[in-house]
């Protein structure tokens, strides 16, 4: 008997980082208590730099004041991974799912997140690949197109992935992205050098790739979601 896995998708539009974090904390708590099913948040952030649990702020190349002056925020988080940038035209997915129910460990989970982004890129004829050892993420050649940083608490996930559709790549100049120097950052727009379809379509495709890779066959869309719903 094939288990039907259900995924509730919240499409949130542009959300402030801390608000998204607050929502994730609540959903993780609800998921641990079996109050909700596996959930996926799909959103974008205003210009935001974030650090992981290791607090690798030596990879921030400018001061926090400088970031504020360009209209960006900086946040320290509990996720794994190094420093990264989130901003407009970058598709972010935060899966709040039970790895125990899926029978996945951290390593397999991260591999599937990489695969999700690789599949999306391939829809546009872009040949992306997972990173080598120590360079987790999704690459086109030696240019990074997708980043990953997750937190796992009692086998429930939070944080997730960020895929560059067409963000302003100049923002990445203020950091050593993911702590990997001498490698560039890229975007879908840059790789295909064509007009991209509507961004919402690309985001929906990313969600479908996620559902496909993780075996979720029943998708419930929470359209026009707002944080007020939580």
């Amino acid at each position: 008997m094939r288990i039907v896995r259900s995924l509730k998708v919240w499409k949130l539009g542009t959300v402030n980082y801390l608000q998204a974090l607050k929502l994730q904390d609540k959903l993780v708590s609800d998921r641990k208590a079996h109050k909700i099913t596996d959930t996926l948040l799909a959103l974008q952030h205003p210009p935001t730099y974030t650090l992981g649990k290791r607090r690798t702020d030596h990879n921030l190349l400018v001061s926090e004041d400088d970031l504020r002056s360009i209209g960006a925020e900086l946040h320290y988080t509990q996720r794994g991974g190094d420093i990264t940038f989130h901003g407009p035209h970058q598709a972010v997915l935060y899966p709040i799912i039970s790895l125990r129910d899926l029978g996945l460990g951290a390593r397999k989970y991260v591999e599937k997140l990489e695969l999700t982004m690789i599949e999306l890129a391939s829809l546009y004829g872009v040949k992306a690949r997972a990173g080598e050892r120590g360079e987790t993420g999704v690459w086109v050649g030696d240019r990074k197109i997708g980043a990953i940083g997750v937190r796992i608490s009692s086998a429930i996930t939070s944080h997730g992935l960020a895929f560059n559709i067409d963000p302003d790549l100049n923002y990445f100049k203020h950091i050593v992205p993911c702590g990997i120097a001498e490698k560039d950052v890229t975007s879908l727009r840059k790789e295909i050098n064509m007009v991209l379809p509507n961004e919402e379509l690309i985001q929906d495709q990313l969600i479908s790739c996620f559902a496909n890779v993780f075996g979720f066959s029943d998708i419930v869309w929470k359209n026009n979601s707002s944080l007020a719903d939580s």
């Binding site: 290791r54 951290a106 390593r107 050892r133 990953i148 608490s153």
Partner: protein, 146 residues
């Protein structure tokens, strides 16, 4: 065997089940009873599923913990995973070696990769943990869920 007799008399004194080696939690931590002090770490199954560990966070000695709460975290492949305590008690000793050499969690999860030692405040909690056979079965069931 002398060791087993000694362990069994301690076990009787604490009124817990006799431990045959280590006991395990379904969240993939192991415990080893040594008198009233319990050593805790994560299992080989856990380290294998995490991948290469790059960062380990352990608490300071002296704090206390409830069963099921997080006492630290382990980072591997861009994922930080909380590690939970299978029992309640006071943290009497912390192993700082994994913070310096995170790979110990992978290479020696049951020996050099031990994480904390706790003075059990509620020894009956040990009874709810699994023996090696039950733990192996639990891992197999998890694997089958894929």
């Amino acid at each position: 065997m002398a060791l087993r007799t000694w362990a069994s008399s301690i076990a009787n004194a604490l009124r817990v089940s006799l431990l045959d080696g280590l006991k395990y939690a379904s969240s993939h931590e192991w415990v080893k009873l040594d008198g009233s002090v319990v050593t805790i770490g994560i299992t080989d199954h856990a380290q294998d599923h995490l991948g290469e560990v790059v960062f380990v966070e352990v608490p300071e000695a002296g704090g206390s913990m409830a069963q099921g709460t997080s006492y630290g975290a382990v980072e591997s492949v861009k994922a930080t995973s909380d590690v939970n305590s299978p029992i309640s008690g006071d943290i009497v000793e912390v192993n700082t070696k994994p913070s310096e050499v995170p790979g110990l969690i992978n290479s020696s999860p049951y020996q050099e990769g031990w994480m904390i030692k706790v003075k059990a405040s509620n020894p009956s909690e040990l009874e709810s943990l699994m023996d090696p056979k039950e733990y192996t079965k639990s891992c197999e069931e998890e694997h089958a869920a894929r």
